[in-house]
């Protein structure tokens, strides 16, 4: 029974998914209630997590494979919030699409529970199954639209995802072969005990893990699928992929590399790998984003570039010496700030693109006159993505670059700052279109309550954490502190 209590947040989400399917099948005339059931399930999940925080009795369950700690609690809240925003942003689109409404919300919730399990897994097998639990619904969701592009996106995501999963599994198999256990903590102990006797095999395993998770994190050179899938998939799903699965991948990479592969002779290696990947990822993402004319493709490349920023935090780990977890807390803080910001951008894009029927950036011209609310929200979130105060994105970049400097990665921080300048070019290009461009159509765009609410929450989050970042920073520090016992 204790296990059920520990896994309660996930079970609440899965239960809501089941209720949604049943309501959809048994009382189809009540379909408009489905998103609210999803939101209730997410609220129950968050309340359950709060009850664990209140009990302050962190523990593991199912033989230590599932860990309830500050780290997973941080991500439980993050994923419940992300999914709630995605559900809110999906309502209009799903109602218009008409078919498979119950299945849509059920799949979104199932993916959410997978993401939660992913952030809490402390065992390679649990992590792999959680990864599949979150990935398979996302493959289906990416191909949800009826047009060819969406099918292409779904198929591409599925095939490349399957390859990434197999690479990952191979890496895990090598880790198991060297250490004889699948538990992360025991792997760490075995490696620390045996020293660098099996260094070459461990490096191969590490490389395979980085490749497998690199696909989910969307870092170069595993980023090819991102622009195509973001462009083809329904926009709410693209928002979910860009925030949810990326955050979960970073969570699990942080956990595996800190807990299992944290030994000094390995962490020097992987922090170098992450530093190089960070520089390449930022540069490729930003340079490719400049030439995009489709806003969803542009956001795809921008999310690749942001993944490069997160990687700075992972790279800043080992060399930081005493402040082992500064980089990790930077990654967590950046992930939360990025979640608000990027969801805000996507929600605004959903609202605008639905009305004007186009994803082209030039069609966003003069949007300020047609919908001041959407334009301001979108512009504010884009400012945050660039990293300019008073937004959460500014503190995120400051924090993570600070971690980089402390870790003697000055060259990487210089690359990051230069890349921020490059990114300002294309983010401000969109803002300029919004406010200065002229459009022949000047009919006002009415925003539905659900879109308005989710955009309002996102923008408010970006603003509040841009003014008062300390609560979020201290939560991220607490979460990262579980790795500090090394």
């Amino acid at each position: 029974m204790n296990g059920i209590d520990v896994a309660g947040p996930q079970i609440a989400v899965l239960g809501a998914a089941g209720v949604i399917l049943l309501v959809d099948a048994l009382v189809p005339q009540q379909r408009r209630l489905l998103p609210f059931i999803a939101l209730i399930g997410l609220a129950v999940s968050a309340l359950w997590t709060i009850s664990w925080v209140a009990r302050d009795d962190y523990q593991t369950a199912f033989g230590g494979t599932l860990s309830l700690d500050h780290f997973s609690v941080f991500f439980y809240f993050l994923f419940a919030g992300i999914t709630a925003m995605v559900v809110l942003a999906s309502i209009d689109w799903v109602n218009r699409e008409g078919r498979g409404q119950g299945e849509y919300y059920a799949l979104v919730l199932t993916a959410c529970s997978g993401l939660m399990f992913l952030s809490a897994g402390r065992d390679l097998i649990t992590i792999f199954i959680a990864l599949e639990l979150s990935s398979i619904p996302q493959y289906v969701l990416a191909g949800w639209g009826k047009d060819v592009r969406s099918s292409e996106a779904g198929l591409k995501y599925l095939l490349l995802g399957a390859i990434a999963s197999s690479l990952l599994l191979y890496g895990m198999a090598l880790l198991y072969g060297v250490t004889g256990t699948t538990m992360l903590a025991e792997i760490g102990e075995t490696i620390a005990w045996s020293g660098d006797a099996n260094r070459s095999v461990l490096v191969v395993a590490m490389t395979l893990l980085i490749a497998g998770f690199g696909f989910k994190m969307a870092v170069v050179p595993f980023q090819m699928w991102v622009p195509d899938v973001y462009q083809g998939a329904p926009t709410p799903v693209a928002a979910y992929l860009s925030v949810g699965s990326k955050a979960a991948a970073f969570a699990v990479v942080t956990r595996i590399f800190f807990e299992a592969l944290g030994a000094r002779f390995l962490s020097d290696d992987w922090s170098n790998v992450f530093a190089v990947l960070a520089a390449v990822t930022m540069t490729v993402g930003n340079v490719m984003a400049i030439v995009q004319t489709d806003i969803k493709r542009m956001l795809g490349y921008s999310s690749i570039a942001q993944a490069g920023n997160f990687l700075v935090g992972l790279a800043a780990i080992s060399v930081a010496g005493g402040e082992f977890t500064l980089g990790a807390s930077g990654v967590l803080f950046f992930l939360a700030a990025y979640a608000f910001t990027n969801l805000g951008v996507f929600v605004a894009v959903i609202a605008i693109s639905q009305k004007i029927g186009s994803d082209q950036i030039r069609d966003y011209a003069g949007m300020w006159k047609r919908s001041p609310f959407l334009s301001l929200g979108l512009a504010f979130c884009l400012v945050s993505l660039t990293g300019i105060p008073p937004t959460a994105g500014f503190w995120a970049k400051l924090y993570i670059f600070n971690a980089g400097i402390r870790a003697d990665l000055t060259w990487l921080v210089v690359v990051g700052v230069l890349n921020s300048l490059v990114s300002a070019y294309y983010y401000w290009g969109v803002i300029r279109q919004l406010f200065t461009g002229a459009s022949e159509d000047s009919t006002a765009i009415r925003t539905s309550p659900s879109i308005g609410l989710s955009l309002g929450v996102a923008a408010a989050g970006v603003f509040v954490f841009g003014i008062l970042p300390m609560p979020l920073i201290s939560a991220a520090r607490d979460a990262a502190a579980i790795f500090a016992q090394h």
Binding site: G18, L21, L22, A25, L26
Partner: protein
């Protein structure tokens, strides 16, 4: 460690030699004229189906509804796989185990309910 990988290396060599050898041999046999002139006859050109005579063309379209049936079959097949061990230890796991099994069957029952309401069990739409 390296010695054990050596055994895998031998396997790798065999795995390479076998197909390459077959290809090279068949290519080399092309230069040796030992075949009779007329090699084709209807029986030989026929599709090989475990020695049985084939019936009809091979490009038959299956009704896509078999897909639903197959999915449901897999679902309940897997259910049985999990129920057998439960049945074996049924008298030892007590009431907790009994209710865990019941809830498992219940969730699958909801699955049937869903499939039925979504008309996956009907042959005609």
């Amino acid at each position: 460690m390296l010695y054990e990988y050596g055994q895998i290396g031998i396997l790798l060599v065999i795995a390479l030699v076998f197909p390459v050898g077959a290809l090279v041999t068949s290519w080399a046999l092309g230069f040796v004229r030992i075949r009779p002139k007329n090699v084709s006859n209807p029986v030989k050109d026929d599709i090989y189906e475990c020695g049985l005579r084939t019936e009809g063309p091979s490009l038959v379209q299956f009704n896509f509804r078999f897909y639903y049936i197959a999915l449901l079959f897999v679902l309940f097949d897997v259910e049985l796989v999990f129920l057998f061990p439960w049945a074996l230890v049924f008298d030892k796991v007590g009431w907790a185990g009994y209710f865990e099994g019941l809830s498992f069957i219940g969730i699958l029952g909801l699955g049937i309910l869903y499939a039925w309401r979504k008309r996956a069990l009907e042959w005609r739409l």
